[in-house]
Symmetry: C2
Subunit: 560 residues, 2 copies
Amino acid sequence: MNKHAIFHITTAPYAYAKDKDTLSLRVRTAKNDMREVKVHYKCRYDWQNPFKEKTMKLFAQTDLFDFYEADVQIEKNRYRYYFEFIDREGNQLYLDERGLQEELIEGPEIPGFQYAYIGEADVYEECKWMQEAVVYQIFPDRFCNGDQSNDPENILAWGEPVTTESMFGGDIQGIIDKLDYLQDLGIDLIYLTPIFKSTSNHKYNTADYYDIDPHFGSVELVKELVKKCHERGIKIIFDAVFNHSGDDFFAFKDLLENQEKSKYKDWYFPEGYPVSTEKVNYYTFANDVSVMPKLNTANPDVKEYFLKVGEYWVKEVGIDGWRLDVCDEVDHEFWRAFRKTIKSVNKEAVIVGEIQHEAVSFLSGDQLDSIMNYPFKWALVDFFAKRKIDEKEFNNLVTMNRVNYMRSITRQLWNLFGSHDTARFLYECDGKVDRMKLAMVFQFCFEGVPYIYYGDEVGMTGGHDPFNRACMIWNEDEQNKDLLQLYKKLIAIRKENKELIYGDYKPLYLEDNVIVFERNDGENSMIIAINNNEEDYVVNKLFKKKTIDLISEEPVSLNK
Amino acid sequence: MNKHAIFHITTAPYAYAKDKDTLSLRVRTAKNDMREVKVHYKCRYDWQNPFKEKTMKLFAQTDLFDFYEADVQIEKNRYRYYFEFIDREGNQLYLDERGLQEELIEGPEIPGFQYAYIGEADVYEECKWMQEAVVYQIFPDRFCNGDQSNDPENILAWGEPVTTESMFGGDIQGIIDKLDYLQDLGIDLIYLTPIFKSTSNHKYNTADYYDIDPHFGSVELVKELVKKCHERGIKIIFDAVFNHSGDDFFAFKDLLENQEKSKYKDWYFPEGYPVSTEKVNYYTFANDVSVMPKLNTANPDVKEYFLKVGEYWVKEVGIDGWRLDVCDEVDHEFWRAFRKTIKSVNKEAVIVGEIQHEAVSFLSGDQLDSIMNYPFKWALVDFFAKRKIDEKEFNNLVTMNRVNYMRSITRQLWNLFGSHDTARFLYECDGKVDRMKLAMVFQFCFEGVPYIYYGDEVGMTGGHDPFNRACMIWNEDEQNKDLLQLYKKLIAIRKENKELIYGDYKPLYLEDNVIVFERNDGENSMIIAINNNEEDYVVNKLFKKKTIDLISEEPVSLNK
Ligand SMILES: [Ca+2]
Ligand SMILES: [Ca+2]
């Protein structure tokens, strides 16, 4: 038995309250090492009865490890438990709080792991509507110009080549005008990059968190947008840029004006006086971005101000949550308070962090509901778009990604293809639409929330900023209708087959750049086969079920 | 290289802010597998410069694993990092967010781990005074009867055999009377089991959280006790019994009286009406302890009430913190709020949970400062008292215990020998004082806070409750003076040699029930040798330093 591989801790995702009456337990072993893994459990105050036992289910496998899972329930939720392993050679070991044991100390003294109590206040409440949703990201200046009267000066003609500075006049009215299009596409949740008053085209340098940029519209118009989204069953969330403000935000302006005497000097991190936007002698987003001075969220006044901003738009305007810009550079304390504030206004509102990396410390239940899942994106880029890793490494990456978090969180991760911060997926594919289609099939059939960056669905391409932020193609002759149809089809398939949302992900075949996997939720099962090669491929393994080609909708045989 | 053994996550204790400018990193490998382990790190926004590198230090070793540690610092605290391993055969591997890599992806694309920012609000502030303290636990009814006028009826004579129900008249005045004794002993922190109004001798069924039990004294007298402790440089903390109240607490009395109509019914967990203390049809501490109905701390009113209690005694009476009864059955949300409340009144006040098991989910910086470290106690019982495990297993247990937590937390753990909830250590030793002395040497020379349960220092013994709660022996003829002297000596040695507090723990020799280990803080070093046998033992390894016998104070040679 491989002792070094065996791992368990009493925190998420290895031990967590699935709900107030269920403890979800995980344990890790070496790959293919075990014949059977069991958990033994009982009430920590039960000195009379023997432990109950439950066989754990293998639910994930990486190149090195197997992950087993079991949900257990006892009255009053005060757990004591230990694990039992029987390897493929019949060797037996136990794991308790003291480590691996060859023999179990019997009697009341078993030093089992303890999950002492499921406190109701600690239970992470999953967000089913988001698990079942498809997200659509809009960069407003580039989506649709619905009102030419509010256009900035010197806008470029729609579809002209973009620069870092260019503006195209897209606005809130444009989004309202295109809600029929979005509803027809089938998406459920719109994420808007910032729309608050700001000088730039991206508006990540906020001047006023309570006002809509006049080139985009007004608070009244935004209320209309939210209302019309809701009428169509579409939810909508905004972008919370609380890591930094714009340099024209009232507090930073006051600092520039009054310097050491400003009562807002502790809202920022001045490195010396006089604070100057030319010298950039203050902490900013990234490196010396003068228009984005970093906010000091450890300051109670700053914290209170931005909690109120967060509350206002949910409570007064009815948005369905927030995407958090540069989330991982703002303290956990702030996000804990933010969660409480937002959920107390609307329990169903969601909080989604921009964290481009593993984010366990934000996703254990007390802060976020989800992140923009960039590790997923990069795995798809490397396998489908660039074909520089093989199917085993790809499976490994997406599996590590899904076992990082509690199950409910994994189902809520925004599995994006790209965003305004990365090259578009089709660009990564070097324009090869067939590669993108295969990646789309994987995206819509995997655990987590499929995510469309505006325009991806009609075949838009473009490298890094600003080229990934081109104007939406509305001219139907220029749209890739084929791609658009596949998106609609995949959205429909996902909505009709809940096993694609709630089912286990189980790879059945991983060879020669071919992936066959099952999604099975206990009631229904779907098997998805993806051939990431140019040539046809025969899977030398029997699949008895009826198979169809997702692209052509023709019956197809996977066997010889 | 043993790939299965290699482990790192971006949360404590594997990655945490040591202070606002220092990131502390750990990585685990297989035991004796590596020749060198390095961390490579730089600013996550630095696309120009190469990574800095730092060799990591082996700081702990269990039977299976080695643990490496390094502190790193960069401007603005926005970290990207990866690890490099070179094993003893010269093989090289890298570990980043995507797993183990044979070759590193060079350039800006390295998918390193990210500790995106050290938020000032998230930094755990260590408690140096507690790291340097020795704790003394008092069970007031059994410590000293300083005022016979407040004695309960039918008290037993001091020193009579105890029963579950017996009372002996010990009180606050008695503790005040014995402060000279405690000061002479050398302890720094008194932990009092509950003293609030309550019918029992242990007072864990609280009737009134704002009043002192009349058999113990008054709020005024307690203020005097706190003042007199502080005058002597002794701190004092009380017992917060917030998991449950007494059945005579006003809220539960109201529930009993008004049943469904009680406005306090959601303060508890009634399982049916009428709620009855005879049927015990409500959730209690442990199993059906009718006088201890469990409180619903998820109820905001309950939360507010008990946060105020916590605040009152720190703010108005000046206690130095709280020990939290049944801490692990109260929700994390409550303790997060509790920490904020207490620290806002007194930053130096401490919060110590009664958690008898591994407690990572409570000790990551946002809740507790310490726990009563029972896993330490059980390891010492098994090795020193019962001699049923060998020196390697013992070393393994105490090492696993110390690597569970951030370094500052490990130094704050209350390394107890026993308490009112367990048999006394001397009882576990079957009365063999020599065994206890060896354990004491280990306790005072290990990482963490030494802890004395009243009377242990004069040779008191006794099995489980109630026998572990006998009256303190004040008759000097009955005290074990030899043991008392050793306690005083060990306390003095610990105070004079800060490497026993801040030094690394490094085992040098583990064979034949003999343990030799070093504590080295970079400036000073002490080597401690413990022979857990009846016979003399010659350590077949050279120790060049001067050695003395701690017990006899005679020079002694450890070499042949
Ligand atoms: Ca416009
Ligand atoms: Ca008395």
